[in-house]
């Protein structure tokens, strides 16, 4: 091989390597984009069917249910317009409580419940995840009469 052809081959390999690396990275990026939906979006059918997404809202008072000694939990998320039932199996975060804002990651089940792989509840009792606060504010703007918890 002449030095020139060797150089061309080297450049070609580098381009190929970079291109495939970029392709990998972009695919990973596409696959891991998590969209955020409110219970209203989900009820209106805006949320995807077979894709992981995040849902946020308040845990409805009195909706939390878990059989004694079991890890299978079930609760209702609300944005004070619509409700979505969430199922989760595992240890819930320390700050999970009824009447609190939480964000869950998972996908919709065929029976219309949301099956979460992860539930996040953050910060102190005065804190609400920004996404959840935003959703609630939107609902509030739509129907001014709905009472909204102070934040």
């Amino acid at each position: 091989m002449t030095p020139r052809r060797r150089r061309m081959l080297l450049v070609g390999l580098i381009v190929l390597g970079v291109a495939s690396a970029a392709a990998f990275a972009l695919t990973a990026f596409q696959e891991n984009l998590l969209y955020f939906y409110s219970p209203s979006d989900v009820t209106e059918g805006k949320a995807p069917e077979n894709r992981v997404f995040r849902i946020g809202g308040m845990v409805t008072e009195g909706s939390f249910h878990r059989p004694t000694g079991s890890l299978e939990a079930r609760f209702v998320l609300t944005d004070y317009a619509h409700n979505v039932t969430v199922r989760y199996s595992g240890v819930l975060p320390d700050l999970f409580r009824e009447g609190q804002g939480v964000v869950a990651r998972g996908r919709m089940n065929s029976d219309g419940t949301f099956v979460a792989d992860e539930v996040l509840a953050k910060h102190d009792e005065n804190y609400m995840p920004p996404d959840v606060a935003d959703t609630l504010r939107k609902q509030h703007d739509k129907r001014v009469t709905t009472p909204i918890p102070a934040n």
Binding site: L33, L34, T68, S70, L71, V91, L92, D124
Partner: protein, 653 residues
């Protein structure tokens, strides 16, 4: 009264940044030694008043002065004394004051340890640091003063966030800030070099120790944060690709690239413009991190202070710093051309690849971190980028990096032939592969090919890092501190990779329910819950369970995980029970009561997880060693011109 004194001291510190900036920059521009002398005096004064201001705030915490709003929000009379001090930087306002103090410390250090530099250079660096200090002082005074009074005074404080009541987290912010803020020094040096229009290997030699020290503190800070998250958050993870973690990790990656590119600039006079860009980028990312954390644009454990005004200020400040520096770069960069060449296979090429890959990794992480912020700002929907993206995006550039490291370490400058070391390197590679396969076959029942490849590469790096020191030692040759430091740091990196890869590939995790008297099997161990009891701490109440871990009937360990409720903030907190061995952790965290005496438990088996933090510490140790190199303490051309001065310099620094 004390707190007003603190406020006043901070105002004075701000006032002193103005002469520091003006006389530093103008003095160097007009070559007026007296002006430049004023700049270094101003630095000392600025430091004294910032320290005084910080001291006043700390005093208010010690005195439980709840008439100060910030103290009332972040402390409590029941809070143990140690945490009362840590509470000073427990929230936004105080942590910015800490930031300011650290910056003042760096400035004073530059002023004191710069005897080996020309006065104009020091002066310019101090001038730029003065501008940055001024910006931050103004930021604190205008938007985030910790010196506000609360009237009427609170009877007791709202207590420090329980998550922060932990020794590792008490020292995590100072370490991290020392690193973060430290990147302002290479930035200031870069701006000074551009103003001066001169960038030679002496310049690189001045910047290198500063960059390395900033970088090693950042390394320790990040490692501490990761360690803390592991045992305190109760999830048992060590890295979450959380936006704020990314915000600290990106400057670290750029800092690592900068350290390597500075080596080329010093030894070969190459990569000059690139080094300047990296210096600017490192500081820009540190500021960006501050913006992300402080403006509340991202959801994160750290985003405790959401205030658009603060975010806007930092954004404007960021734009001014980076825009100014890049403008200067566009104007001055043509001055920094270098005409030396190097062969395609040479140490320069390896370091170039190192830089390209590290910057690519940073770019991919930046994309994942900022993309959601942009979409949100443009009202295009709310998204977040899942951790798997970051893992893949990070591994793509890092795998080749690790493979190139072993030959790179042994490549010669200008043109590498590998004649002498080819066989040795190949043998080490073979040994690494065999060892990786064998050990992981026996210990972990090998099932991940990627993990084996990663571990083999890491072992290869570890072996190659040992070659040079062992060879020199055997022949009785001396080994320079910077070479030894490099070898130690690379060995630490290898330890980290082995730990991280093993944990991620072979960890075993389960959530399950257990009541006293019951036993659960997990990862070959029996976990028996003996009892549950109530415990009272200084400012919390807790439920503690006693878990006996045994294997084949033999008791291995007893752990006591707790679920704490802090009395003031009433948040439940998880204290994990961890049994530590060098080769594995058994992690038990209590979830919540499930009724009928049963509790949900998180049981995790984490092989080699200690290698992650140990590796990070060894990396930092490598930094410490290389900073001790003698050539950093020598005056330029001093050996011939002024041996007396050189000796003095060496003893001072």
């Amino acid at each position: 009264m004390i707190i007003e004194l603190g406020h006043f001291a901070l105002i004075l510190a701000f006032c002193l940044t103005l002469p520091q900036a003006f006389f530093g920059l103008a003095g160097a521009a007009y070559r007026r030694p007296h002006w430049m002398a004023v700049a270094s005096r101003a630095v000392a004064g600025q430091f004294v008043f910032t320290a005084l201001s910080f001291g006043c705030l700390a005093y208010a915490f010690f005195q439980n002065d709840f008439s100060v709003l910030y103290v009332a929000q972040n402390s409590n009379s029941e809070l143990p004394t140690f945490y009362r001090f840590a509470a000073v930087w427990g929230a936004h306002e105080g942590s910015l004051l800490l930031w300011m103090l650290v910056l003042a410390l760096w400035s004073v250090a530059v002023a004191a340890l710069s005897n080996n530099m020309p006065q104009a250079m020091t002066s310019r660096v101090l001038g730029v640091l003065g501008l940055i200090s001024g910006g931050f002082a103004l930021f604190i005074l205008l938007t985030s003063s910790p010196f506000e009074r609360l009237w009427p005074a609170a009877a007791d404080g709202r207590d420090l966030n329980p998550l922060l009541q932990d020794p590792a987290l008490a020292i995590h912010p100072p370490m991290l800030y020392t690193g973060y803020v430290g990147f302002s020094v290479p930035f200031a040096f870069a701006v000074a070099a551009m103003l001066e229009g001169k960038l030679d290997s002496a310049w690189a030699r001045w910047v290198r120790p500063w960059t390395t020290v900033a970088w090693l503190f950042l390394t320790i800070g990040i490692a501490l944060g990761s360690w803390w998250a592991y045992y305190e958050l109760g999830w048992g993870g060590w890295w979450f690709w959380d936006s704020v973690e990314n915000a600290s990790f990106m400057p670290w990656l750029i800092g690592t690239a900068l350290i390597h590119s500075l080596a080329v600039t010093e030894k070969r006079g190459l990569f000059k413009s690139w080094t300047l860009l990296l210096s600017i980028a490192g500081f820009a990312l540190a500021l960006l991190g501050t913006f992300l954390v402080r403006s509340g644009v991202i959801e994160s454990v750290h985003a405790f202070a959401s205030d658009p005004g603060r975010g806007l200020f930092i954004l404007v400040f960021l734009a001014a710093c980076v825009g100014g520096a890049l403008g200067l770069y566009a104007w001055r960069a043509p001055l920094f051309k270098s005409n030396v060449g190097f062969a395609p296979v040479s140490r320069e090429s390896f370091l170039l690849l190192n830089n390209v890959l590290l910057v690519a990794a940073t770019g991919l992480i930046l994309l994942g971190t900022l993309y959601p912020v942009f979409l949100d700002a443009l009202n295009l929907g709310k998204i977040s980028v899942g951790p798997p993206y970051f893992t893949v995006a990070f591994l793509i550039p890092m795998l080749p990096l690790v493979f190139l490291l072993a030959p790179g370490m042994h490549a010669n400058w200008k043109k590498a032939s590998f004649d002498r070391k080819k066989t040795l390197l190949m043998m080490l590679a073979a040994a690494a592969l065999v060892l990786a396969v064998a050990v992981f076959w026996i210990a972990y029942d090998l099932h991940s090919v990627l993990a084996t490849v990663g571990i083999a590469a890491a072992l290869w790096v570890a072996f190659s890092a040992l070659v040079e020191p062992i060879e020199r030692l055997r022949k009785g040759h001396s080994l320079s501190a910077s070479t030894l430091g490099m070898c130690v740091a690379h060995f630490g990196l290898a330890m980290f990779i082995v730990g991280a890869t093993t944990v991620e590939s072979y960890k075993i995790e389960a959530d399950l329910s257990l009541r006293p008297g019951q036993t659960a099997q997990h990862a070959g161990f029996d976990f028996t819950m003996n009892s549950l009891r109530n415990v009272t701490g200084p400012n919390y109440d807790a439920i503690e369970s006693e878990i006996v871990i045994s294997r084949d009937g033999k008791q291995v360990a007893v752990v006591h995980p707790q679920k704490r409720t802090y009395r003031v903030q009433t948040n439940p907190m998880t204290e994990a029970g961890i049994d530590v061995r060098w080769n594995r952790d058994l992690f038990v965290a209590m979830g919540e009561p499930l009724g009928d005496g049963a509790w949900s438990l998180r049981l995790q088996y984490k092989p080699l997880i200690r290698f992650i933090w140990l590796g990070a510490l060894v990396i930092a140790l490598g930094g410490v060693i290389s900073v001790c190199d003698r050539r950093y303490r020598q005056r330029v051309g001093a050996t011939a011109a002024a041996p007396e001065g050189a000796a003095k310099t060496a003893s001072v620094s």
